[in-house]
Amino acid sequence: MLAKLFKFHGGVKPDSRKTASTQRPIAPLPLAPQLVVPLHQSIGGTPRPMVAAGERVLKGQPIGAAEGPVSAAVHAPTSGIVRAIEERTMPHPSGLAAACVVIESDGEDRWIEREPIPWQSMPGDELRDFLRDAGVVGLGGATFPSHIKLRPGDKPTHTLVLNGAECEPFITCDDMLMRERAGEIVRGALIMARMLRVERVLIGIEDNKPEAIAAMREAAREGVEVVAIPTLYPAGGEKQLLRVLTGVEVAAGRRPVEFGLQCFNVGTAYRVARAIDHAEPLISRIVTVAGNVEAPGNFEVAIGTPIDALLAAGKPLPGTDRILMGGPMMGFALPTTTAPVVKGTNCILVGDPTLLPPPPPEMACIRCGTCAQHCPADLQPFELYWYGRAHNFGKAQEYHLFDCIECGCCSYVCPSNIPLVDYFRYTKGEIWAREREKSAADSARERFEARNERQEREKREKAEKLAAKAAATRQKLADKEDAGDAPAAPATSPAEEAKKALIAAALERAKQQKSQVRPRNTDNLSADKLAEIDEIEARRTQPPGATIEPPESK
C-alpha cells in the first residue's frame, strides 16, 4: 500500500555522498584502554555519580543515576577500574570540560549480571523506569530521554513514526543499522508501539537508501509500514518527517504526542529492543567515519571511546583540516579529538578544504529571499539575521526565531555567503542568557521583598512586645505610685528607635561597602557596628523568648 505523502516548504538537496561508508558492514571497534564516560549525555539533569575512584566496575553497571524528572542513567561500557571522576573535555563546540567517569579497561569486558525482563506483564511506569535506568535516549541527535516520550499522552496516540530518513550527507549509521539489524529495529518499534498503545507504525526512509528500505520491508510485521520518502534535506527533522508522512504540522511549542503522534529514531528503537530483550543498557552505538579518510565505514563503538581511536580506524588522509562531529549541515568542528564518543555521536566527518570548502567572504544581504524560499520552517531568515545583528532580540522573536531548527538550508543557499545560522545561534544564546538573568532577577526580587517583609514584621513584633512590657512596667509603677496617667504614646517610640538604628546600620554598611577594599573587617568597624554585633551576639546568647532592650538613640 502506498501512503499518501505530504510536503514541507523549502529544503535543499546537497550531494548525499553516502556510498563510501556503506561499502562494508558495521565493524566493532576494538576496545580502547581508557574510556571517558561523561555523566551528562542527555537532555535534562546531570546524572549523579554512583561509583568512586578506585572502584571496580563491570560492563553495563550503572555509574550515573538519573537525576530529576528528565534524565537517563549512564553505564560502564566495559569492565575495569574507575580511575577518576573528573572534568574532561567534552565533544561540544565550546571545547569546555564536564564531569566524566574515567574507566581503565581490564580487557575482560565482563558483563554485569543481566536478566531479560517480563516486559509484557510489567506496568508501564516500571517499564519506563527500566528504560530510564538502561540509559536509553534518542539517538537521532537530540538525546532526549526516551522513557518520557513513551508515556501515553492525554489524547490517544495513533501513529508511531520511526525516523530512518537520515537526510544529512555522509552519515550512514542509521542506513547500515537498518540494513543489518532490521529485525531488532522492528521489534523495538513494536515494543514502543505497545507501550504507547498505538496500532500503526510508520517507518520513513529517504529513497536514496534502497537497501535499507528493502531490508526494513522484509522485517516489517503487521501494522508496520515502511515508507520511502523523497530525498530532500532536512526530511529527517522530526517535525518535517511527521509532516511528510502524516500531513500533520506539529504546532510550534507543542509536542507531537499532542497530535497523536510520536517519533523515534530507528537507532533508538534498536536500543529499546536491546535493552528489553537483553537487558543491555546503552553502552555502545554505531558511528559513521567518513570524509577524507582511507577507510570510511561504520563502527560499533563503546560510549566513552576517544574519538582518536575512531579516527585511527578510519585513517584520515593528508590534507585533513578539521574533524566534525555530525554531518556537514548541522555538525560542529571538534575542538579536540581526545574527546569521547557520546550517546549523541552519529558521525565523525573528516574534512578537507575540497570536501568542506572554507566559506567565501560574507557580503551584504541583497534581500533576494532565496533563504526564505528554502527554509523548511517557513521563516524569513534575512529578517532574523537583520534583527539579530542589530541586537533587536524582541523583533527576532517576533519573527519566530525559536522556530528555526538550525538546519542550515538558508546559509547553504545564500548568494551573499552570509553565515545566517551562526547569527541565529548567537541570537538564541543571547536571548536564553537574558531569560535566565531575568528569572534570576525575579527570584532575587521576590526573596528580597520577602526578607524585607519578614524584617518589618519582626521589628513590629519586637516593638509590640516592648511596648507591652513598658506598659506593664509603667502599670506596675503607676500601681505603686497610684498615679493615674497611663501612657499610650510611647508604644510607637521604641519602634521608631529601632527603625532609626536599622537605617543607621544600613547606611554604615553602605559606607563600608564603598570603602571596602581593605580585607580586614573587624578592626575598622565603627562603634555602631560593634554595638550592632554585640547586640546580635547578645540576642544569640539569650534564651529564646527573652527580649533585650533596643539600642538607645545616639
Binding site: 568542506l356 532565496t370 534575512f382
Partner: protein
C-alpha cells in the same frame, strides 16, 4: 573557525547578476537592430561610469573594492539605466544618471542591500524631472549610426526629422490634441505604431520577454513579480478599454510598449528595494502596475513605471511586514 553548515551550494551574487545581464541581451539586440547602435554606446558609457563610480565609492567607504565591484550589481544598474533612457540622449545625461544611481541612490544609502529605492529608477526620475525635453526624444526606427553618434556626442540637435515619440507618448499627445474628438484607433494609425505596440518596439518587447523567461527558467526570479505586474496591467487596461475603447488603449498596446516588459522582468524584480515575501511580491508588483497605468493614462508623464516603482519602494517595509508567510507550526489548522 567557521561553523555549520560546512557545505554551500549558492549561486553567488555575481552569478545572479551575470544571468540578469545575459537575459537582457535579446532585448538589447532587438533594440540596436531596430533603432541603431546608439543603445550600445549608451550601454558602454553607463557601464564604464557605473564601475568607476562604484569603485570610487567603495574605496571611500573603506569596503573591499574588488569583491563588491566583482558582484556586477553596478553593471546591472548601469544597463537598466541605459535601457530606460532614450538611446539618443546626450552622453552627459547617461553619465549624470548613472552617477545619481550609484552614488546617491546606492552608496549614500549604505551600498548594495541597503538602498530603499531602485537606483536605476531614481536616476530615471531625476533625469525626467530635470531634463524633460531631452528625455522624450527617441530615435525613429532606422536612424543611421553617424546620426546617432552625432546626437549623443555632438552639440547641436536638429531633431524633428529623426526622432519619434514613443507609442505611449504619441497616444497621449494625440489624445490631448484631438480633445474630445480624438479616437484611439485613429491615433494608432500613426507611424509610431506597429502591429500591436510601437513600431519597432514590438521586437524589443519580445526580446525582453524572452530574457524574462530565461530568468524564470534559471530561477533567478520567481513568477510572482512579473506575473502580478503583467496581470494587473492587463486587467486594468482591459477594464478601461472595455468601457471606453475610444479613449483608452488596448491591453495589448500597454503590454507591448513602453517599459512594460523591461519593468516586469528586470525592474520590479530588483530584490533589494522590492518586497520579498511571496504575497508581498504580488502586492508590490500589482501596485507598481496600477500606479504606472494611472500615470500613463491620466498623469503628465508618458510612462509612469519609474515613479510607480519608487512609490511602491516606500511601501515595501509595510508590505513585507504584513505579508509574512505563516511559519511552520503557526499555520491555521495546526493547532
Amino acid at each position: 573557525m567557521s561553523h555549520s553548515p560546512y557545505l554551500r551550494q549558492a549561486r553567488s551574487v555575481r552569478q545572479i547578476m551575470l544571468h540578469v545581464l545575459i537575459a537582457l541581451l535579446p532585448g538589447v539586440l532587438a533594440w540596436s537592430w531596430q533603432f541603431g547602435v546608439g543603445v550600445l554606446v549608451q550601454l558602454g558609457l553607463a557601464t564604464v561610469t557605473a564601475v568607476a563610480a562604484e569603485a570610487l565609492m567603495l574605496r571611500l567607504r573603506g569596503r573591499p573594492v574588488a569583491m563588491y565591484v566583482g558582484d556586477l550589481s553596478a553593471v546591472v544598474t548601469a544597463w537598466l539605466i541605459a535601457l530606460t533612457l532614450p538611446s539618443i540622449a546626450p552622453w552627459w545625461i547617461v553619465v549624470v544618471a548613472t552617477l545619481t544611481a550609484i552614488v546617491v541612490a546606492k552608496h549614500l544609502y549604505g551600498g548594495l542591500g541597503q538602498n530603499p529605492f531602485n537606483p536605476a529608477m531614481v536616476a530615471f526620475c531625476t533625469m525626467i524631472v530635470a531634463f524633460p525635453a531631452l528625455m522624450s526624444q527617441w530615435p525613429a526606427a532606422g536612424l543611421d549610426v553617424s546620426h546617432q553618434l552625432d546626437l549623443i556626442f555632438g552639440g547641436h540637435r536638429q531633431l524633428d526629422a529623426i526622432t519619434a515619440a514613443t507609442p505611449l507618448d504619441a497616444l497621449r499627445t494625440g489624445l490631448r490634441e484631438g480633445g474630445a474628438d480624438a479616437r484611439v484607433a485613429e491615433i494608432m494609425q500613426g507611424s509610431a505604431f506597429g502591429a500591436v505596440g510601437g513600431a519597432g518596439w514590438e521586437w524589443v518587447v519580445a526580446g525582453f520577454g524572452l530574457g524574462g523567461l530565461y530568468l524564470l527558467w534559471q530561477r533567478v526570479i520567481t513568477w510572482h513579480l512579473p506575473l502580478a505586474f503583467l496581470a494587473t496591467m492587463a486587467a486594468i487596461s482591459l477594464l478601461l478599454w472595455g468601457m471606453h475603447p475610444e479613449r483608452f488603449a488596448s491591453p495589448l498596446l500597454h503590454l507591448a510598449s513602453g517599459g512594460t516588459m523591461l519593468a516586469a522582468f528586470f525592474i520590479v524584480t530588483d530584490p533589494v528595494s522590492g518586497a520579498t515575501t511571496p504575497r508581498g511580491k504580488l502586492v508590490f508588483a500589482g501596485g507598481v502596475a496600477f500606479i504606472a497605468y494611472m500615470i500613463r493614462s491620466f498623469g503628465n508623464y508618458p510612462d509612469g513605471i519609474a515613479f510607480a516603482v519608487l512609490l511602491m519602494n516606500i511601501c515595501v517595509p509595510l508590505i513585507d511586514m504584513n505579508t509574512q508567510p505563516a511559519v511552520f507550526g503557526h499555520k491555521r489548522g495546526s493547532r
